[in-house]
Symmetry: D2
Subunit: 437 residues, 4 copies
């Protein structure tokens, strides 16, 4: 999952400890604080479920990350803010020492939120001085620039998780509180409800994966050739309206539509709709960051598991795209869409951009693909602390592509590989159908 991404330490000469980087870093740090403004101290300490983390933990963990990987190794005389903090806020780095057990993150009433804010300020101050220092040799500067770049991307990932975890928490409140108290922007109603257009792709040998300048995670490389068979792809994701038809048609009650493993999960958990859907006064409602609202039929369906995506596709007589098909289909598309900066805080119907290109590939919902999360050919785990476990999550998970309505702007690209277990659905996860020619 996002917060478990591995990190690349292959140094690129383009990394520079310049003011531009400093400004992006501080803007990222401020953005985290803005995200918790609507939260009370109580909202920040509680852990909604094992998969989620408290908001306070996200704030502290992202801060610890800079301390552990940048300040302590490379800044002379820097002392860790607190040995206890390191214990509390390390996530999973075995080489970085003992950690507080993940399912107990919600027990940490101390350090308090206030102490965490002070911790952030302390680390921010130390980070700021880096950009004014004249004593750093060029190699250290390059290394630090690279690590800070990773730190920014790492914190952006946690910004998304913070929001999905708050949604998970608020959805468990009998009071159904709204995270956002601003007026909720109306959904844009378009023709999407009325049909889907199938776009054809010819296939052939394509290059897949990241290369060139700009940040990427190591799991996006090496760039390599893949043989793609001809395929068709829906021009937009599956909508809530279509999902309601699936429900009325008995989709959740027919074992023939499901993977055996998925059917077990459906029965064990009594799933009969996406996560956060509930029936009120005979109408499907959905818990969102705006509180509980009626389901919007033309918006992309969200909060579904891989199992549900797969069952829906079988019901529809289609299939999921592979992550390679998905990536090929983004050629010539700018990686922009309904992401966090858009402030919608939920998937919404987008206006058409063009008749011949897939819509909403970026933003709105992460799209489950048929691809198991595996290493690309030639992938080598980098050496060193940050690369400790580059491949250690490459098992039993599935790749999602494209970003969501709470992904920070700029934190998405065609080669970006997100990954979750097939039963998980607390992220903004949806699906786009594919078909054979």
């Amino acid at each position: 999952m996002l917060h478990r991404h591995s990190h690349d330490l292959g140094l690129e000469p383009t990394h520079m400890l310049d003011q531009a980087l400093g400004q992006r870093l501080m803007e990222c740090r401020r953005q985290s604080l803005r995200l918790v403004e609507p939260l009370s101290d109580e909202d920040m300490v509680v852990q909604a479920m094992d998969d989620a983390s408290p908001a306070k933990w996200h704030l502290a963990h992202t801060t610890w990350f800079y301390e552990a990987f940048a300040l302590q190794p490379y800044v002379a005389n820097y002392a860790p803010y607190s040995r206890d903090f390191a214990y509390c806020f390390n996530s999973y780095y075995e080489t970085k020492g003992e950690r507080h057990p993940r399912p107990h993150r919600g027990l940490l009433t101390r350090p308090t939120a206030k102490a965490v804010f002070e911790y952030r300020q302390h680390v921010d101050d130390a980070l700021s001085t880096l950009f004014e220092s004249e004593s750093l040799d060029p190699e250290t500067q390059t290394t630090l620039a690279h690590i800070l770049e990773i730190g920014i991307n790492h914190e952006q990932q946690h910004q998304e998780l913070l929001l999905t975890d708050i949604l998970a928490l608020f959805a468990r409140q009998p009071l159904h509180p709204a995270y956002s108290t601003k007026p909720r922007p109306a959904a844009i109603h378009s023709e999407l409800q009325n049909g889907v257009k199938w776009l054809s792709f010819r296939g052939g040998v394509s290059e897949i994966g990241h290369s060139g300048p700009g940040f990427s995670y190591d799991n996006e490389g090496p760039r390599h050739h893949v043989l793609i068979h001809p395929f068709k792809l829906a021009d937009r994701p599956v909508t809530n309206g279509e999902w309601q038809t699936f429900i009325s048609d008995g989709g959740y009650a027919d074992p023939l539509l499901w993977l055996a493993e998925g059917w077990d999960v459906v029965q064990k958990n009594n799933w009969d709709a996406p996560e956060y859907w509930h029936n009120k006064d005979d109408t499907w409602h959905q818990m969102t960051l705006h509180g509980s609202i009626p389901v919007e039929p033309s918006a992309p369906v969200s909060h579904i598991s891989y199992y549900e995506a797969d069952a829906f596709a079988r019901w529809a007589g289609k299939r999921l795209p592979t992550e390679f098909e998905w990536e090929v289909a983004t050629a010539d598309l700018a990686p922009i869409g309904n992401t966090l900066g858009n402030n919608a805080l939920r998937p919404v119907t987008a206006a058409s951009q063009s008749e011949d290109k897939p819509q909403q590939m970026f933003g709105d919902v992460w799209e489950w693909t048929a691809s198991s999360y595996q290493a690309y050919p030639g992938y080598q785990a980098p050496e060193g602390a940050l690369g400790e476990y580059n491949g250690k999550f490459m098992c039993s998970q599935y790749v999602l592509r494209g970003g969501s309505c709470v992904t920070p702007d700029g934190h998405i690209r065609p080669t970006y590989r997100n990954f979750f277990y097939p039963h998980q659905r607390w992220q903004f996860s949806g699906v786009r159908l594919a078909d054979n020619p």
Copy 2:
């Protein structure tokens, strides 16, 4: 356990809705607020484990109790403060409607602590008006006086639970915070460490259970005759020092000392000392409401399970007293001791009061007895809402007697029966040995 006590609705003519009752009620309400003063909002929302409840929940639940049993039924036009609150803060009254599941109490970040304080004020105001009302008929006055008396006792129980639950929470913090920041009173060192005196009792037919004026729970009656065999009782509880000897002697490693069920629990949980004990720098420390402190050898051992109490007794060649022996031994003793008002907030060595009487029967630690928690002969579950489930916890639990260092003053008496499951040990539970003549 305390918070599950059932309640008696047998009306006594002595119950009066007078100013004395009103003052006791308001003092009790203020006391709850004083107890949470050292807590942050975060400390108040988190649930340390399934057995415990968040402090905020205790504050709200005790308030809901007055609303549900006094204000709504007996005050014309009183509207519940909030339907959601009733759902959130009902504990287990089936006839009072649906309840928030107990293990999810720690998810309730909303209503906030602030909202709960407002709720308390609202209910306090409504309760105050009762004492000024001139429109209540005498029968209603008597009924209300009785219910408020129960409400006070109910809230006192939760005051004790609030403290034990906070200790459970703080013990799970890597930072080991102290609840009490006041200077910790020194333990009084006395001769207790050096030996125990055995007091002999002749036995015979004794009267057991509550009768007469003054409040009691229904499980303390009816008063009835019990045949007691001659026995001996230790003049004081087992101390930490004696427990350390038990540990060094391999007490936790010898299956022959344990009940079969207890041995399973010991092995499954790797118990090797009382709850909250941990070894630091080769010295036993104990997490307390003062933070982590070295174990005090002459103080009564606390936070042990029934299994441990039983194993210790077998190791010592003694046994646990029955609850009847315990009660008989309190004849002529005033029910006072190291309780909450004493502010020690932990068991401490008491100075001798008398050479021939048992010491520390009240306060310090609840003392496990050999008695399974059962109904007394002739016990009848009362009718009505408060009596809904009078006997429903009378199974598989064991009786503890005497109160603890966090029991509110006055909330203890010779006939008081507390009860917990034999594996539970987050209460201030200790043990006093008995022997045959």
Copy 3:
């Protein structure tokens, strides 16, 4: 439970290694073999559930018992039949070495049933020689006689368990096979269905527990005085017909009737009738050792838990008797009834014996009492191997009295204390109501 009974080594001078004992021993050994005659090798190896043991295991364990406690310690040059057998067939004696884990007893396809029969023969031969030996000194003879007496009683307990465990196994077979292929004796229909007679007892100080000659377990003593309050007792157990009324009246659906713990168990397991009851063609059927048969309304209800017994009593406005009340009520009654020798293999309606005395106190069903299983005053765990854990099961269980339709004849007496956990119901367990005067 039966197979966990502890054993007394207090030697009595009356124990003699004479021919009478030898004949009883060999008859007991043959009886075990007769009980497995209707079983295939497959029936003998499988374990129906964790609480149960395979028939083969019972056969081997009872044999190992004589080997471990009589032959090895007291017979010169006796070598254990097989070290593996000792590992496989020790039940829970910690001092007798490592044991095969209880829930894995059903994995033991080897040693085969045939090997176990050979093992039995080998041990029987060795036991026989004891009675012909002239080299045993008198003290050893007395000790051996005592141990063999315990061995017989121990094997009788396992004979009952063997049958209840076979019933548990056969009840899990889709084919519902019958253990007994003999014609099933008709139930005797009597006036029992039409009403219950309440017998009054005056109470007072009574003597409880075993004393005098004849075998008993250590938990039946010491004999001591108990103060009994006046009470009434039903002249017969609750019947299946009455239980059907309880069911139709919604007994399993009303939480107000249940202990809190019991209500949890009911809901978790979807209990809506006694164990082994199932509805076929709109008629309640019951799996028995004769296969599945229609429930017989006038026979005592069987296979109920303590929780169900307690809920039924509350529904009926009565209560369970204490074990002391039960024992007092057996004064002047001979301990005979519908036990194993009767061959009914199920509870049946007995003809009235007398108008003024309780019926069916012995045989038919074990009767749950309100008494937690505790040590009697003055109880001391004996020293030595057989007494290893005399009290180790005295926790969280409840006492049942009177024996059942599969208890070996003679293996029952007024002071006999059986005990099980309150949720267990695979034994032939029923209930008789008591009331206050």
Copy 4:
């Protein structure tokens, strides 16, 4: 896993209901009976663990398969042998009605082994008549031939499972019995222990998957193009000797070598060696179908999980091959090796066949690949009963290739895809390393 393979109903004209097919069918049926000859009735009824099935169940289930898919649909007037048998011995076909729960298969003492043998005979007789019938129209003949072909392959799969499940059962016996009482053939010692040879492959676009005549499962097709990158492959599987080095080097204790998921499994289960390995007298022994024997250093390691295979590869600085690389490497190799007919019943060192080709690709051990078990491009689930769930196991499992020492001869080919969950290791599963060029 093997017994969950899906089945193809695409009819091929080459299927004929001729004598050759009849002879293969009856030989396959006899082979199942030969495999259980060393087993007692008790060995046949017990279920070693949830993943395994009893031998009796395998015998009955494979028989039910012919009844359900061939005799009942296509033979006029054929009545099912027993409705109970269908309930007991259906494995997972939802459209074929209710099933006995999988983890309870080991409770079925009835029908007895004897009854199952009679059931087999009954069905064999009915199958035999098919080959003599003159009333079947050509289309039905072709369909039946196809179904029987599937039935043979299905039964062969279960023959392998029967042996691995017996090994799992015998490994849980304290007596460590041998399945095979014939003299155990010596392991052939060769140069394998001393080094591995790396074979280079050029890559390029290759055809993968089955086509042409001969039986295959639907998951082996459609045949399609795959782009293979240049790679190197070890000429033989990893050996026990090499695995011992991995163990001594701390392989099971270093989290950096493991997938995060794998490390959790290792710690939870205290794995420190392959399944069935145990240390006796300071020497590694291995439970086999010949009983417990010293580990043979030059034989391929077996009974390892995907996690272990992956960790070993990381430790060795190599990786697992993809299933496509594996298939490409078998070009020009005959699919023969140490399979069931060889009677070794364990992996053994093979003599070199050639210097330039991979050894032991077939037989000995199933080889874990890096490939998640997914559908091939263009795969379509066939319609109809046998195709009910063709793809329903394509999730979270990994592909193994090549067959094992207990795979029936002829039941293996280069395109054969076996699959198991990454934690499973009771099959004869090993590993062969790959590397980048």
